[in-house]
Symmetry: C2
Subunit: 492 residues, 2 copies
């Protein structure tokens, strides 16, 4: 499989107008006030991990690049906007000749990421950097949500293959298409979504629906026909009528009468309803007794990480899982709450950090142009902590590093014998893309390697250890001074 295959298709839609209207009213405002070329810095980050989990898996950067590379307002877009009677002709003229000139940095896909880390940072004329807010959030929020959920589900499956089966219950077409992409990044082996295979070279799989069985007068005839057509990879759906009394006996009969004479072995049976633990144990023993110890049992009935863990704990005999609606919508927590906030402005020669204060403490932002440094232990190669620093800070790896909790600052930790890695990479320089996305399967492999560098305590589902994300002393001091400045101003 080759990502550069000529079979690949791209999303040809122009999504330039997929923008919250307020970005246009603000753009018109910046333009009117002569601020359009004011250089601003924005960070995209999230505040909380879904499902009370310990980590997230970054995803969506390739689609973000595609969007940023294709920003263009058509004449009809301009005419539509003119009819809103909200925008000046000068602003509409600016949009007509819009050219993206920002610098953009992002954490590459597949990296484990944590709350308050700038996953994407945009530097450029405020009117542009503001404009891309909706699509940055929409793209990264969606795919990171699904990649994270998929990683949890695949962890629960404990090495057994997981197939993504959710297209029909996804939230819209892209929910299916890009959701399947993110599910593979999170660890799924394959997808039912043919278009996602076509677009991203991720393996699409599938066998039969209940309708195939219903179409024939008897279940046996339906199975027989299938085995005749697909003798090499025969998987039968055995729960149309009754798994134990009808499905398994008919399957075994077909394996005996059709496959055996051809010298073929059956690939599997699939169960899509009923009591998974009971049915799979019973099926396993019936298959084994008939000499089909190598016939897989596939399960696909409203699964998620908790049900998978439960049925495996109960001794269910399952070889692979098809996971649908609860994966493709991240049902247990279907929102990834990424936000996009102004963090700095450029003066004549310096960077002026900006902060957003809030009555909700957790909504207070980290000011300034920053980066994320991941700190690894030199002996175990495990990730020990992330440190958010100002962009120009340097860490001398030969010296001990003091980390401290940004709220309870007396909680301090001295790190020695470590090395560091900058997480963000530049993806756009002055509006030109300077990064080539790996293939989806390469990203999946990368995600596997990088999550293996986290301690099991961070990866577990129940009460995971909170991975340390600390601020450098410089950044912490800067934040404190800005907080005091603003609260002093209206308390005085």
């Amino acid at each position: 499989m080759n990502n550069k295959s000529h079979f690949n298709v791209k999303d040809e839609r122009n999504l330039t107008m997929l923008v919250d209207f307020y970005e246009l009213t603000m753009g018109n405002g910046y333009f009117d006030k002569g601020l359009k070329d004011k250089i601003a810095y924005f960070d995209m980050f999230f505040r909380r991990i879904p499902d009370e989990g310990g980590y997230c898996i970054m995803a969506g950067v390739e689609q973000l690049i595609h969007y940023l590379s294709n920003l263009k307002f058509t004449d009809n877009d301009i005419e539509y906007l003119r009819n809103k009677n909200t925008f000046s002709e000068e602003f509409l003229d600016y949009l007509k000749n819009f050219e993206f000139t920002c610098d953009v940095w992002a954490v590459p896909e597949g990296n484990p990421v944590f709350p308050n880390e700038p996953l994407v940072t945009v530097r450029g004329p405020v009117i542009q950097a503001q404009f891309v807010e909706t699509m940055i959030l929409l793209t990264i929020n969606h795919q990171t949500l699904i990649a994270t959920k998929a990683h949890r589900i695949c962890s629960a499956a404990d090495g057994r293959p997981v197939m993504e089966f959710g297209s029909r219950r996804a939230q819209g077409y892209d929910g299916a298409i890009y959701g399947a992409r993110a599910a593979i990044i999170g660890g799924c082996n394959s997808t039912a979504c043919t278009l996602s295979d076509r677009m991203f070279n991720i393996p699409a799989v599938g066998t039969m629906a209940h309708s195939w069985v219903q179409l024939y007068d008897t279940e046996f005839e339906a199975f027989k026909a299938w085995a005749e057509i697909y003798p090499d990879d025969c998987v039968l759906l055995i729960d149309t009528y009754n798994v134990i009394k009808s499905g398994i006996p008919n399957a075994i009969k077909v394996f005996d009468e059709i496959l055996k004479p051809l010298g073929k072995r059956p690939l599997g049976v699939r169960i899509d309803s009923g009591d998974i633990t009971y049915l799979t144990k019973k099926c396993r023993s019936m298959l084994d007794e008939a000499g089909y110890e190598d016939c897989s049992i596939v399960i696909s009935n409203s699964l998620d990480e908790h049900i998978i863990k439960d049925v495996l704990d109960q001794g269910a005999c399952i070889d692979s899982f098809g996971v649908g609606e609860r994966l493709i919508t991240a049902k247990s927590e279907p929102v990834f709450g990424g936000v996009y906030k102004l963090v700095a402005l450029e003066g004549n020669s310096d960077i002026i950090p900006k902060i957003k204060i809030s009555e909700n403490d957790e909504k207070i932002t980290n000011p300034g142009f920053k980066k994320i440094v991941r700190i690894f232990d030199k002996s175990s190669h495990k990730a020990l902590a992330d440190l958010i620093t100002l962009r120009d800070e340097k860490i001398n790896e030969d010296e001990p590093l003091i980390l401290f909790n940004p709220v309870h600052t007396w909680k301090r930790k001295k790190i020695t014998n470590y090395y560091t890695k900058d997480l963000q990479v530049q993806i756009f320089e002055n509006g030109k893309c300077v990064y080539e996305s790996p293939s989806v399967l390469e990203i999946k492999e990368f995600a596997k390697n990088e999550t293996n560098k986290l301690w099991p305590e961070v990866l577990r589902f129940e009460n995971p250890h909170t991975y340390y994300v600390d601020l450098s002393q410089n950044l912490w001091s800067l934040k404190q001074s800005l907080l005091h400045k603003y609260t002093d101003s209206y308390e005085s």
Copy 2:
């Protein structure tokens, strides 16, 4: 606003390949077994209303029509499929010349719909009718989910306008674009999604983000600039620093110093964080005291129907709501579980009903080619019940109608003084579209009228009355006979 406006853009993507792979393996199988022209009937229906609600709002038919009207495999699609080494050349040739020839019936958008009702029925060659499964489910599941959630949220707002603000947290681009469309059908007044306005003529709205305020040295300067640019529809975001100590005083100062001299009134203030009840009451009294009784208070902080009902019950002073992530993802229950099942085949001259049995009772299907009849009371014009009947059954409205519970058949009810309406309409005849979708705003109005025909007991959030969906005596008897036939076959 005119739905035929030349500003409208269409989704130009070819979504033919957005299909579960098993529909292709089954298609190849039908082809191989000479069954491709076997005429089959499939029903799309759902089994349970999200959020323990009492009703759903049908949505997505316009997009379904768009998909069915544009089915086409490109040469590259065929080449991609050939490389799967799964399909016969004859089947690939069939796909290359694929022409949709099915009949399709659907419940028009905006209708209240209930469990087990065939929302979409497809009749045609089994290979085709099977192929469209994924897109029918994906399209109707998504938009019906969001329209239903929006209707709940708008009901809670009790007449106050609700704006859809969720694009950034949607599950993919279409989650935002078509989610906004469905939200309007469910009752929202406007959306932040500019592209949805462009595509469907639904009003896009928006003012400022926190970044506008942060960009200026002081909140007052930021508000002043905004009021100068937008004196006619000035809405200020007042929670960047501190609502009561900074936001409201600065807003009032700007209303006094900028708008008043121009003879303009402020439109509103928006609060996006903090204690809604406390803040809005305090804001209201401060605005009133300053002479701005007509200035609206807009709230937009992680709202849903329950929070809206709560804060209004607590006396919060709110004039309109912006609702984001919990609407656009239907967060409380983000899956609409529609399924698509084979219900009949055509013999030489008759229709052979088909059933799917299951260990889960609720997964047993209603067999046969059917229709939905809604029964209205002649005096109140309220909907009394829906009756699922075989397609050729006729109800004589001059005679009393006996309804009975399909499980507890002794629960019977005699209806008199009623009239009936068939819910499904034909949308495709022999592959040609025979239905013109109303505009989104027309559908919204229709949904409002039709839901008003339900009793308040069906519409309420907590323990709603279960709307009656019964089977005709003929359909019930048919189902029983098929159930007995199959269970007898493997019990004997």
